[in-house]
Symmetry: C2
Subunit: 339 residues, 2 copies
DNA sequence: TTGTACGCGTTATCAC
DNA sequence: GTGATAACGCGTACAA
């Protein structure tokens, strides 16, 4: 057949170095000892020719892609840079490639995932990108998976990395109630199936209970964890018959931005009229008007940890099934403090 | 040799469908007509078995990776989400994979790039990730490249996508001078070799000249286009013998954040004492304290355009060598306006 | 320590 | 319209 091929192969290197392809391969992968003399000859030829092994050929021979993927829902969020940065640093350190893709679960049934066994050795899964049955299918096929910000589906043993939600949330709401005497606190929840949102809501409820404040479902609105939906939800809430509230806990900082905007348009002052607090501590949160009181979540660390776990999985090492990184309150001005 | 291989191949599909692998391949790639009856049989078997072609094998056979890459310097910046999001949307639409990596040019000589002919069909290059000679080497090897936010090296014909810098900058500085009567305007430049920064500095200088304001090199400081360096630079500037200035033009919005912080710590009020304006219009810029007057740059569109160009290159189609997307002033409050 | 030969999963060429 | 079969570039038993 004789296909023309401009790329140079291990065979070219071998020939120029006067050895066999196998020897070059051995040198390349340290898979067997090579006489120092031969090694030097090979090294010289390789750098002369600027030879780089063909990833696909290697993958086909070794059954390893030397790549891992991360599957997100919406890339265009301030939440992702630290996450991806953390993942990428580990991936690079391991000499792997990083595949990034976005996808929303349930779009089409059986739609093939952009990342999977066909193009990578494992992947990190963000909530919403894959549904439980898709995750289980991949898991049962033996494809290494690490879940972030969500727990593993029933019957699977997939490591997951997330952050402590309830404790810090509880403390934050306590702060609102005890220090700033807020009692009618709106909660802007995230997507209904989002576990972080559920846990944060539990923290919110616990704090209310502890202070004998009745849980009022009318104060719960849905912001979908993004500023636009949060803005809409808050605006709609403000159009209700004289809404009665003195604080807002937004499930994440991005929502807080939308909420603050809606409040501002309505002429409500933060924090004088309404306290606003969030969750995540995005880099920008310190620079909002006013600076946002929130809960710091170690997002880059979640990325690094998830990536490290994935590489452990690839190396058949033990990995903790559930990892929760610690969070802590960051008091700024939007709650009413003067810090 | 007989390796166990859990993955199912085109051969399995062929067998189950009672045809040859070649026929399945033809159906898969529309590379030749297949009788409708056979086609249906294949289709059914494929979805039953959930067969997905192996990317590496395909790559080896076709000499195409079905993947493109984007090479950045620092992923952890608010600038990237829209950029990557734009790129990813096109990549997905084309059925390709997206490789993301970060790298700083000049780290080591001859260090192999994480993205290249060995693992992708082309790549989008961000300034600072590759130096001119690395770019030329790739270009001469026939590797499809699209440059963003920088022009092509001498002697190459590589398409580049960026934004208009000078015109809008000129208008913005005019605004500072004419509307707000500022005359001692600090410019916080980016990395020395950054073309955007150079052009923005030209716009700045043109405006000064047009208003008979002498160019004062003491008012030029280096912020490296990130908030931390900008913060340091501004803090140092403020420690000078009674710095005399009434406005700051930061080369990008991220720097503006650092500058605003430094100013704030010094007790300087924005915009009462000092006007601050930036460039980029990050999503967060509208939410700073005070909201930042800046220049809107269509970052997501740069990403989309660059990706589209790259795919045109892959299809051997003509591509504009230089594309500049339009920018426009966004007046908010940090300049002194009350909008 | 080194070379030979085969297989990884796919596509492309050539016959039928 | 369909089926054999030879590549693609590399890793690796096995033999030497």
């Amino acid at each position: 057949m004789s296909r023309k091929s401009s790329s140079l192969t291990i065979r070219d290197v071998a020939q120029k170095a006067g050895v066999s392809p196998a020897t070059v391969s051995r040198y390349l992968n340290n898979s067997a000892p090579v006489s120092t003399e031969v090694a030097q000859r090979i090294q010289k030829v390789m750098s002369n020719l600027k030879y780089v092994p063909h990833a696909a050929a290697r993958q086909l021979a070794t059954q390893k892609a030397r790549a891992i993927g991360v599957l997100l829902t919406d890339i265009d969020s301030a939440f992702f840079p630290p996450l991806i940065s953390g993942i990428e640093s580990i991936v690079q350190q391991e000499g792997y490639n990083l595949l990034v893709a976005s996808r929303c679960a349930g779009n089409e049934v059986d739609a093939q995932t952009p990342i999977g066994p066909h193009n990578s050795d494992g992947m990190i899964v963000f909530p919403g990108s894959l549904n439980d049955s898709e995750i289980l299918k991949l898991y049962q096929a033996g494809f290494p998976l690490v879940l972030i910000y969500r727990t593993a589906p029933e019957g699977s043993h997939i490591p997951s990395v997330a952050v402590w939600n309830k404790r810090a949330t509880r403390e934050l709401i306590d702060h609102l109630i005890e220090v700033h005497h807020r009692r009618r606190i709106v909660f802007v929840r995230g997507p209904a199936d989002n576990e972080d949102s559920q846990r944060r809501e539990m923290g919110y409820q616990e704090s209310l209970e502890a202070h004998d404040i009745a849980y009022n479902p009318n104060l719960i609105i849905s912001g979908e964890y993004n500023r636009n939906d949060a803005y809409q939800a808050m605006s709609k809430f403000l159009k209700n018959e004289h809404p009665d509230f003195d604080a807002v806990f937004t499930g994440n900082d991005d929502s807080a931005i939308g909420v603050m905007n809606a409040l501002y348009e309505k002429g409500l002052r933060i924090p004088d009229d309404i306290s606003v607090v969030g969750f995540d501590n995005l880099e920008l949160s310190a620079f909002l008007t006013p600076p946002l009181t929130t809960i710091h979540a170690p997002t880059e660390c979640v990325g690094k940890t998830a990536a490290r776990y994935l590489f452990k999985l690839l190396a058949n090492q033990e990995v903790d099934l559930v990892t929760l990184l610690s969070t802590e309150i960051v008091i700024r001005r939007s709650c009413g403090c003067s810090a």
